[in-house]
């Protein structure tokens, strides 16, 4: 599991570099991705389905990105975009087209439905993450100063 998280961090940071994130924020982009993947793994481990795991993971990722964004005074996008990549259903797209080509329509539609479900779950996770009031996140830097 630790190795997985490490690799996930490398993957996220690589993609953050690919989208030219500021150098000082790279490590936080990596952390965002790792956190998302951590929650995903935990959920899968507890026997949750992929959609639920993605929902929880993208929610955690969004909340973390917003917290970091207000702490570092940067747009949320910087962390969210890099962090979302491990969750995006690239494998689902591949499986769907593969089964389609192999003419295994049942497997194809199963993979397609799962891809849509996962994408929907990510959507919901991000939306839930954004419904938390901005005031909470603005309080973080102030609270840090107090200490």
């Amino acid at each position: 599991m630790l190795l997985q998280l490490l690799i996930c961090m490398i993957a996220t940071i690589s993609f953050a570099i690919l989208f030219t994130a500021p150098k000082s924020e790279l490590i936080f982009c990596g952390l965002a991705g790792t956190l998302g993947w951590f929650f995903y793994l935990i959920c899968i481990d507890q026997g949750a389905g992929k959609p639920v795991a993605n929902l929880v993971a993208s929610f955690a990722l969004t909340v973390f990105s917003r917290a970091i964004a207000s702490m570092r005074k940067n747009p949320v996008t910087v962390y969210l975009i890099a962090g979302i990549f491990p969750l995006v259903p690239g494998a689902g797209i591949y499986n769907m087209s593969f089964y389609f080509i192999m003419n295994e329509m049942e497997l194809c539609s199963a993979a397609g439905m799962e891809t849509i479900k996962v994408a929907g779950a990510i959507v919901l996770g991000i939306i839930f993450g954004f419904t938390l009031p901005q005031g909470w996140f603005n309080a973080i830097p102030k609270w840090k100063k107090h200490r």
Binding site: I7, A11, V78, I81, G90
Partner: protein
């Protein structure tokens, strides 16, 4: 008299730069309005779409002014977004005069992309890591590294020729699939599906999906839909690219 025009131009130009580098509509609209507020323009209207900006200021006065910008969907540059955000923050706290702001804006817009070689390497590294993460082993990761690096070289090559996005995605994913199957035919131990999944990650529309959701959530349904269609079409192109090559290989009897 010309002041309104200059302020509006600065605000819209900043918004344009943000949008061009992949910020979400809400942020762009917010930034433009904040800049106008900061320079004490009271009467304005701003409407931002994912590929255009419409703004007008002081319409009831003599120096009324309005601007329209067309912004094609571009590639994402997070560094520029962060820098522009910093700039608008300073403008809002009145630390930045109009002239300074223009200089700073030009500076933000010219933050370079990473050098080609850096992009190649990290695209490869990212692909390899994802290949491993999605269940591949070390050999798969190495093949995914090669596929990812070549993919980025190919994409940069295509960008210089102003190739359309669809062509890029279809050819890119076809290239990845070809490399993976080639590796498979040389070394049958390779799980070629893991290699493909890892190496198509740079193409997968994660950004379009995220931006689309955030636009929809902020009530910008039109912009959200534009990005969503972008995401779906990109996914479709990837499926076509991967599918076409696999079919060809199957006809050749290699798998």
């Amino acid at each position: 008299m010309a002041v309104t025009k200059e302020i509006l131009a600065l605000a819209v130009e900043t918004g344009d730069a943000l949008l061009r580098n992949g910020a979400e509509v809400y942020r762009v609209e917010d930034t433009v309005m904040h800049i106008l507020d900061a320079y004490e323009i009271e009467n304005y209207d701003v409407y931002v779409l994912s590929n255009g900006i419409f703004a007008s200021a002081n319409e009831d006065r003599d120096d009324s002014c309005s601007m329209v910008r067309h912004v094609p969907l571009g590639s994402t540059h997070l560094g520029r977004i962060a820098a522009l955000n910093e700039l608008s923050r300073e403008i809002c706290s009145h630390e930045c005069s109009l002239q300074d702001a223009w200089v700073r804006l030009d500076h933000c817009k010219s933050i370079p992309c990473n050098r080609d070689i850096v992009q190649f390497f990290f695209c490869g590294l990212g692909s390899a890591s994802f290949g491993y993460l999605f269940g591949g082993n070390l050999t798969d990761a190495v093949s995914a590294f090669a596929a990812g690096t070549l993919l980025q070289i190919f994409l940069n090559f295509l960008s210089r020729r102003k190739t359309s996005k669809f062509t890029k995605n279809i050819l890119g994913s076809a290239l990845v699939t070809m490399i993976s199957l080639l590796a498979y035919s040389m070394e049958p131990g390779i799980q070629y599906d893991k290699v493909i999944i890892g190496a198509i990650m740079p193409l997968v529309p994660g950004i379009a999906l995220t931006t689309s959701i955030r636009d929809l959530f902020n009530g910008d349904y039109l912009s959200g839909t534009i990005h969503m269609i972008d995401a779906v079409l990109t996914a479709f192109c990837i499926a076509v690219g991967v599918g076409a090559v696999i079919t060809l290989y199957r006809m050749g009897g290699a798998i």
